[in-house]
């Protein structure tokens, strides 16, 4: 399943790479080389990373680098032009909502006319390409990212091979996802509104990519909109909690290296995946060690980097990199997931109804 997703992501990247006008100048934020910009400091002298930040601009950038890019980290001008087009199309769709033609209506009309129901184009299900909600409920990039992928190390932008134990766990996970649902455990920790994990809370998706940083002397705190997660990062010489304490978001300790906040996190339960929504890829292990770096490179930009070390799961370390930006008017809203998770009951109810139908059909057979 993961391979197919990444193949599709690769196909997207190729399409995106096809045509792009020179939009490199469209990024309004200053670069690191702009000597006139000075990193702001808090009144107590720490680099100031505060504000609400979003990874929206990296939505659509392939997680792993398509093989044809090799070790190239940035798009060419032509490739960027094409991505710019996609960004503009997405923004237009949010504003106008696209056409009113609904696949559900097309289905009904086809049935009424006695015509063949249009073939499925997507992975949503049998029959017509069924979109669960109109796309304008989503959020999109404001400017095209220059990156060929989010993974930047190893140099080919591809995650190192996973270990045999991790492959086994991944196979088991995919098997539970393919079979008829037996309980809530057959869904991701995100679907269950438990957590997306540290990586899954920042890797951009189709909406809800916001996080907020608040600092105090001796602390940096990060709150993530989905699933109302928060990490309180003490700064200084504190040691990690003992190995008997485990948590979903781990135990973080921070320190400054120049203007960069370095966050070292251990004590993970594991189980969530280090990927989209904490579910793409194999489950991580309790030996996961994450080192993140947050460097403010402009008033409205932080360069984010996460190095993953999980020897039980991956045969080598790997690193993800992308910027998060501040956007005018962008703020976080409460995302009380579990409190409103009617979908979980509904999905389970659907599974029981389907199973009952199957059982009745089976019993009816002569």
């Amino acid at each position: 399943m993961r391979k197919q997703i990444f193949l599709l992501l690769s196909a997207l990247a190729l399409l995106v790479a096809a045509t792009l006008p020179a939009a490199a100048q469209s990024n309004p934020s200053k670069t690191k080389s702009d000597k006139s910009w000075a990193a702001p400091k808090t009144p107590w002298g720490d680099p100031d990373l505060q504000g609400t930040w979003t990874g929206d601009d990296t939505w659509g950038v392939p997680f792993e680098r398509p093989k044809n890019f090799g070790t190239r980290k940035t798009l060419t001008e032509d490739e960027l032009k094409d991505r710019q087009k996609r960004v503009e199309q997405s923004e237009e769709f949010v504003e106008t909502g696209g056409t009113n033609h609904s696949p559900a209506v097309a289905q009904i009309e086809a049935k009424e006319k006695g015509e063949a129901v249009p073939q499925a184009q997507g992975r949503y299900g049998r029959g017509v390409d069924a979109a669960p909600v109109p796309g304008h409920w989503g959020e999109f990039a404001r400017r095209p990212s220059h990156a060929t992928s989010q993974v930047v190390d190893p140099p080919d932008g591809r995650i190192p091979p996973i270990t045999p134990e991790a492959q086994k766990l991944l196979d088991e996970k995919m098997a539970t996802r393919r079979r008829d649902p037996q309980s809530w455990e057959d869904w991701s920790y995100y679907d269950r509104c438990i957590t997306r994990g540290v990586a899954g809370s920042i890797i951009p998706v189709i909406y809800g990519n916001g996080l907020e940083i608040v600092q105090a002397p001796g602390y940096v705190a990060i709150r993530y909109e989905m699933v109302h997660d928060v990490r309180v990062i003490p700064l200084g010489t504190q040691e990690h909690a003992g190995p008997g304490y485990r948590s979903w978001m781990g135990d973080p300790i921070g320190h400054w290296e120049g203007n960069t906040l370095v966050v070292d996190t251990t004590n993970f339960i594991g189980k969530t995946s280090i990927g989209v929504n904490g579910d793409a890829g194999p489950p991580s292990s309790d030996e996961t060690h994450l080192v993140e770096r947050f460097t403010r490179t402009a008033d409205n930009r932080i360069d984010y980097q996460m190095r993953v070390d999980d020897p039980k799961t991956y045969t080598g370390p790997w690193t993800v990199e992308f910027p998060i930006t501040q956007e005018p008017g962008y703020k976080l809203f409460e995302y009380a997931c579990h409190e409103g998770n009617m979908a979980m009951r509904n999905m389970l109810s659907a599974a029981r109804a389907e199973a009952a139908k199957k059982a009745a059909a089976g019993a009816a057979k002569p």
Binding site: P43, Q182, P217, H228, P234, L332, E334, H338, L348, K358
Partner: protein, 272 residues
């Protein structure tokens, strides 16, 4: 001669104290509170209330819990009211609802389901809370269910939607942080005893450092559809001072799934 000199010093000292030139013991305590570079009291720290307000914010004696199998471990501990005046001034119909809540509290208490506790309850749960006070806004992170809220200290913002933790706007009045909370969805309770309010709830909190390690917390509760008048709770929060004190994680959704979805587990009759 010496006596009158001493008397003179004593009189001068008294006069100085009376004139406010010398710090009194009370002022000494106040001036010893930690302050931020811009002179505001610094509330940053890991805090927690002591007591049993989360069980019941009014006076309550010890009681059996819902499961006899837990014996003393599952019983309700006693506590004295944190409500000024002792009792919550419910309107008559609302009091009937509170009684219904109480009778069904183990099923109905949203916190049992790992739903967010709302304000003010989050501040007196038996779990720590971390205050992060920046030069601008203030974040409160609660260990229970990773609940968190940001107190906007800038220009007041209205609530766009109703939420569990409300929308918080704060400002300083001298050394007291005053937080105005609106936009509640009416789903949270005040405790495990069924005390509740509606989505008209309006809470005004006051945080002030009594000393470096004690935070006085007060909240005025207003909801004219439930209560006959505004009422107030107050209790101290205490700073965690153990070595390596830190906020840990209590993500409780997993512990509630059997409770919430167990009836929809795959049935044996469904076979493979």
């Amino acid at each position: 001669m010496r006596n009158s000199f001493h008397t003179m010093i004593l009189s001068a000292t008294c006069a100085a104290v009376l004139a406010g030139a010398l710090p009194t013991p009370a002022q000494n305590a106040a001036s010893r509170i930690p302050r931020t570079p811009d002179g505001k009291p610094n509330l940053t720290g890991l805090w927690q209330s002591i007591g049993t307000a989360d069980w019941d914010i009014e006076d309550h004696g010890a009681q059996a819990g819902p499961f006899y199998q837990l014996g003393a471990a599952g019983a309700v501990p006693p506590g004295q009211s944190i409500v000024e005046g002792g009792e919550i001034p419910y309107l008559p119909a609302a009091l009937e609802q509170k009684k219904k809540n109480y009778e069904n509290r183990w099923k109905m208490d949203p916190v049992v389901k790992c739903y967010m506790p709302g304000v003010p309850r989050a501040n007196y749960m038996p779990f720590p809370l971390q205050i992060i006070q920046s030069q601008r806004d203030i974040l409160i992170a609660y260990e229970f269910a990773t609940t968190n809220r940001v107190i906007n200290m800038g220009k007041k913002e209205d609530a766009a939607v109703d939420t569990w933790m409300g929308t918080s706007n704060g400002h300083w009045e001298g050394d007291t942080l005053v937080v105005d909370v609106t936009g509640f969805n009416g789903n949270a309770w005040f405790d495990r005893a069924g005390d509740y309010a509606s989505d008209s709830l309006h809470v005004v909190e006051r945080y002030s450092l009594r000393d470096a390690n004690t935070l006085n917390y007060e909240a005025t509760i207003e909801d004219s559809t439930v209560f006959s008048r505004p009422w107030k709770i107050s209790l101290p929060l205490y700073r965690h001072r153990e070595k390596n004190a830190r906020m840990l994680e209590f993500k409780c959704v997993e512990f509630t799934e059997e409770l919430l979805y167990g009836d929809l587990r795959k049935k044996p009759a469904e076979g493979k």
